[in-house]
Structure formats: C-alpha cells, structure tokens
C-alpha cells in the first residue's frame, strides 16, 4: 500500500512484542491486499489466477464488508471498477481497526494507530488530554488547517490529488471528480470513518451532505477553491488555540 504506519502507546505495560505484532498485521494486510504487488491475493484474483470462491477467509470478509458498504452508500462505494477489484478504500480502515482491537484486548488503554493519515485514537495522550489530530492542508503539506480534540473514535481523510484518477464516481465513470480535494470524517470507529469517507468523496460536493445525514459522523470537506464545508456537529471536536 506504500504508506507510513505509526503506533503510539502511552501505557507503560507496552512491550516490543506488541509493536511487532501490530506491524506484522500491516505487513500481512499489505501482502494480501496490495494491488501494487503482483503476487498478492487480490492481484491473483484480478489476474483470474484465483477465484473468489477459493479465496482466503480474510479476503472473503473484506468482499463481504465491501458489498455491505456498497448497499449502505447507494452504490457510491464500489471496489470493482474498470475490470478490477481494488478494496483499498476499505482495507486500510479495517486493518487499523484490527490492530486497535489487538491492543485493547491486551489491556492497552491509551494509544493511537495511524496508517496513511487514517487513525483510531483511544484514551488520552501523554499529557492526559484527548488526542490532538491535525487536518493537513492539501495545498500545503507542511500546514495544518484544523485541529481536532478526539478520543475513542476514528478519523479518516479521503482525497485524491490525481486529477480525474483513482477515485471516481462508480455511478458515472466519466464524471471527473475534481470539485473536492479532501474529505475528513470523524466516526465512532476508523473502519466506519474510512469507508464512508471513501464513498462520500465519490459523491463530489454532495458527499458532505451524505455525512451530515449519517448519524454519529461529522465531516470537513475541502474543495478545489480552498474553501471548507463542514457538518453541523463538527465544531464540537475543533480546538482553537
């Protein structure tokens, strides 16, 4: 998948083995689901070397979740496009969720798991405060345009900076999605935030309305003109230093 993974654990009981386990899971996910790897399971499915009925349990699970998401988003989330399956809009959040569950089951109470800018935050940071999550300015990578104070939830940002590429509208593949550049979703879990951020992004400007209507989720959308639109409950997460 080609992205940085960061794990920050506050609890003193954390061990090196725990970190190894967490990173091993991401490696496992990458080797199975990366469309950039020729021998990944997803690539072998896409090359027709492997049928879905013979796929691994985890692959079937992801396809199941993808179908549920497709239905829940009126088709705006779809891992199938132009003849190939690409489940990356769902797998990243799922992987982070899995690692977060591992840590919780080991009794860790204060941590975050961040993969490629999507994050699950649990408990408090090293200053015993809610975790501070910054939204990056898509037009200036060194700048933060919003600071959020969050705990026990997931934050996912969907975005594409390749004009007309990669993220598309499954309902109209000729529609270039250049109106919006970045959409950040806060939800009860990063898996949920990730899949809905992906779907909402495919809706273009309307995506933020979708998030507004979704109970329990808030969103912050940045458009090509450097203007942001946000949902009515978003402000309660915002920090003004």
């Amino acid at each position: 998948m080609g992205m940085p993974v960061t794990l920050d654990v506050i609890d003193a009981s954390a061990t090196m083995a725990l970190f190894e386990t967490a990173f091993d899971h991401f490696k496992y996910i990458d080797e199975k689901f990366s469309t950039y790897k020729e021998n990944s399971e997803i690539s072998r499915i896409n090359n027709l070397e492997l049928g879905l009925e013979d796929a691994s349990e985890d692959m079937k699970t992801v396809f199941d979740l993808a179908e549920q998401t497709r239905l829940a988003t009126g088709g705006f989330f779809n891992i199938w496009h132009k003849g190939f399956y690409d489940p990356s809009g769902l797998v990243k959040g799922w992987a982070i969720h899995n690692v977060s569950e591992i840590l919780c089951q080991k009794g860790i109470e204060n941590f975050y798991v961040d993969a490629g800018g999507d994050v699950q935050v649990v408990g408090k940071n090293s200053e015993a405060q809610n975790w501070r999550v910054g939204i990056r300015n898509p037009f200036d990578a060194g700048q933060i345009v919003k600071v959020l104070s969050v705990s026990n939830c997931g934050v996912a940002t969907s975005g594409t900076y390749i004009r007309g590429q990669h993220i598309y509208n499954p309902k109209n593949e000729n529609q270039a999605l250049t109106d919006i550049i970045s959409l950040t979703v806060i939800g009860p879990d990063v898996f949920e935030a990730d899949r809905f951020a992906t779907a909402a992004f495919a809706m273009g400007i309307d995506g933020i309305n979708f998030i507004e209507k979704l109970q329990g989720f808030e969103g912050y959308m940045i458009d090509k003109d450097k203007y942001a639109t946000f949902t009515t409950g978003f402000e309660r997460y915002v920090v003004h230093d």
Partner: protein
C-alpha cells in the same frame, strides 16, 4: 527491509512510539522492492484468519444496513516474527531471470494536482535497482477565485493555518499516489 525507528523511550507518564515506514521514501521503497524480489514470492505468513465484521455503534435512526458484531480475534502467536537473518543473494543475480527486461524505463507523467510527477525505473539482472524522479512538483498553484459552492445549510469557511502542535496528522500527501502510479507504469512497460 522496512525500517523501524525509535521515537521516544518509555518513562513514567511517557509512552513508547514506534514508527514503521512502508515504501514511501524512494530509497526505502527501492530497498523494500529488492527485498521483496529476493524473498520467495510464494511464501505466505501462517496466520489464523481474522473473523468478520464490525458493529455499527450508533443510534437506531441509522440508514445503514446493520453489520454483525465482530467475534473475538484469534491469538496472534501464529504470526511469524521477522528475523534478522540477511538474505543471501543468489549467485545468478546478473543473469536476467526476473520478471523485467534490463534497461531504463520511464513512467508516464502523472498529475499530482500542483505539478507533475514522473519516475524512471532501472532494471538490472531482471530486478528493480533504482528509481529516480524525472519530474517533481515544486511550484504551488496560484490561488484561484473563490466560488461559492453553496452546499445548502452547511457552514463554510476559508482555509486557515492553525497551530502545528498536534499528536497526529490526517490527510494524504499529494505526491505519493502519483509516484506509485508512475512507477507502476514504468514497471509494466519493463515486463518481460
């Protein structure tokens, strides 16, 4: 080999932070790809499958299809830990046994929104040995006229720089996708 980096040591009230970089930085990416080529591509991690699905933990008025509860995860002892045993290069590295033809292959220019990205892949002995940027965005786009997109009933605001004092940053970087796309195309054109 993925690179690991110690960020903070543990002490009272402090945590341990580990950073794992998976293939973004060019040098690390090349090393990673070379490692992958040397590793038996058919090896699979013995892993117990994770059991499905998640619960949508929100109020009842959700429009979503209900997702069943997740079951407990199986024990993770079955994940083999990576060892530090160095990979020995096969003596036939100079013979082209790889997936790729030897040579230098350019990927297409890919629009990364504020500029173009183009990479060039070098194949030696059938394996990827170098990746270079031929084009990399350096200029910012000039600001455009602000149009009122008029999403009804939702507040809007101009972007404003905020404090950089944060624990985590959310938001993809602009060039990573373009890099991967250009590189993938370069490798595709190098295939035997």
């Amino acid at each position: 080999m993925p690179r690991r980096q110690l960020q903070k040591t543990s002490s009272l009230g402090q945590g341990i932070r580990r950073f794992f970089l998976s293939g973004f930085v060019v040098f690390t990416f090349v090393a990673y790809v070379i490692h992958e080529r040397l590793t038996n591509p058919d090896a699979s991690l013995t892993s117990t499958p994770l059991t499905p699905t998640l619960t949508v933990s929100q109020d009842s008025s959700t429009p979503l299809a209900a997702v069943p509860l997740s079951a407990t995860l199986p024990p993770l002892a079955s994940f083999p830990l990576s060892t530090d045993t160095p990979q020995t290069l096969p003596s036939s590295t100079l013979v082209n046994q790889g997936l790729y033809k030897n040579g230098v292959f350019k990927g297409p220019e890919v629009d990364a929104y504020y500029g173009l990205v183009q990479v060039q892949a070098t194949i030696q002995g059938g394996k990827l040995t170098d990746v270079q940027f031929l084009e990399y965005p350096t200029d910012r786009r000039t600001s455009q006229e602000i149009n009122n997109i008029a999403v009804p009933y939702l507040q809007q605001e101009a972007l404003q720089a905020q404090s950089a004092r944060v624990d985590i940053v959310s938001g993809a970087t602009l060039t990573s996708e373009a890099f991967m796309m250009s590189l993938q195309n370069a490798l595709d054109s190098a295939k035997n």
